[in-house]
Symmetry: C2
Subunit: 210 residues, 2 copies
């Protein structure tokens, strides 16, 4: 369900870089300047051999006996992830989940700004205060092109998701965060990450049965 | 980051069952009564050998030449996932993301009812209309016990998440959907599924760089 056009760093390692970054940010807040690979691995919930292997993507790094420079390592990961500057994102499908995500401020804090929301029937959308401008689908192509948007969030029903993905790809989007419970077919140079909250709960439901 | 106390069906296969179930529900809505393994596999985005292997967990099933009975297979998966009846769920941490999830009606549609929300400072929480009752943390243990809640959603900040998880486990919760960007340490009989929306976007951000 996940495609990786960039093959330099494996997808799972990229996820771990994000986790290391969050651990480093907490260490920094707590005033720590250096961290050993053992301590960082423990905080991230991985083995220290795994951590050291992941960090070899940055070449030689870390000083024996002193560990890693917290600030420097955080910056290298941020550079690699490409989250140095605010990344414009659009969201398509302002139903229950779409509205919920629009009211979530966490994306912006992490460097992603939702610059526009799109819906088939924008007039019917009930909106809270604030949030990005809401448009009809006929504006999708034009706005993606104008703002050079590369990332989109899909929160339309399953039946509509593939058609929306096709439109996004045609307009130049190369990264899709898909919340629709369907497998999207996209060209090889487009990355799709799928999140299905109901499926996560359903999965738990299986494992809590005794 | 994921633990599987029930080992009869592997975790990834359980996720696929959820996907098959959604495909079957769509087929049913479209009036189809039977489906071949090839067609169902294609809809679910897996190989038909994978699908047939996953369905062997139900024993012998399907009629050669006729395929699977859509209704019957959907029911067997629902029984296996334990989502026949509405499953009570609580949510801890009514910040931005917690509020967003409380306003999301999708969980209920899928058989999960959020029966209560908890926050350290319930008086400070800005609430929309509707939604479940909001309590202080001091009520957590009592309400989990009274309603025999087994599943919880954690949407507190990273620094508070482990302490909340400990309280949930002590009260009897055995399935946690964790949105805090931290690895939770729980006993072996507790399952944690982690979702981090910002990390999903960050992961995309890496792959869209050219």
């Amino acid at each position: 369900m996940k495609k990786s056009p960039r093959s330099e760093i494996p997808r799972k390692a990229v996820y771990r870089l994000s986790v290391y970054l969050r651990c480093l940010q907490r260490l920094k807040q707590n005033g720590l300047r250096t961290v050993s690979s053992e301590a960082l691995a423990r905080a991230a919930g991985v083995k220290s051999t795994q951590l050291r292997k992941d960090l070899t993507y940055f070449g030689q790094f870390g000083t024996r006996g002193l560990g890693y420079d917290v600030e420097q390592l955080a910056q290298m990961i941020t550079d690699t992830l490409g989250t140095n500057s605010l990344q414009p994102v659009i969201l398509v499908g302002v139903g229950n989940l779409g509205s919920a995500l629009l009211s979530y401020r966490g994306f912006e804090q992490e460097g992603f700004g939702i610059i526009g929301a799109f819906d088939l029937e924008p007039a019917k959308v009930k909106r809270g205060r604030g949030g990005p401008p809401l448009h009809g689908m006929e504006k999708l192509f034009e706005i993606i092109r104008a703002a050079r948007v590369k990332m989109a969030i899909i929160t339309v029903p399953a039946a509509a998701a593939q058609a929306v993905a096709n439109q996004l790809v045609a307009a130049g989007v190369t990264g899709i965060l898909n919340f629709a419970p369907i497998v999207l077919h996209v060209p090889e140079d487009v990355t799709v990450n799928s999140v299905n909250l109901a499926i996560e709960l359903e999965n738990l439901s299986y494992f809590i049965q005794t």
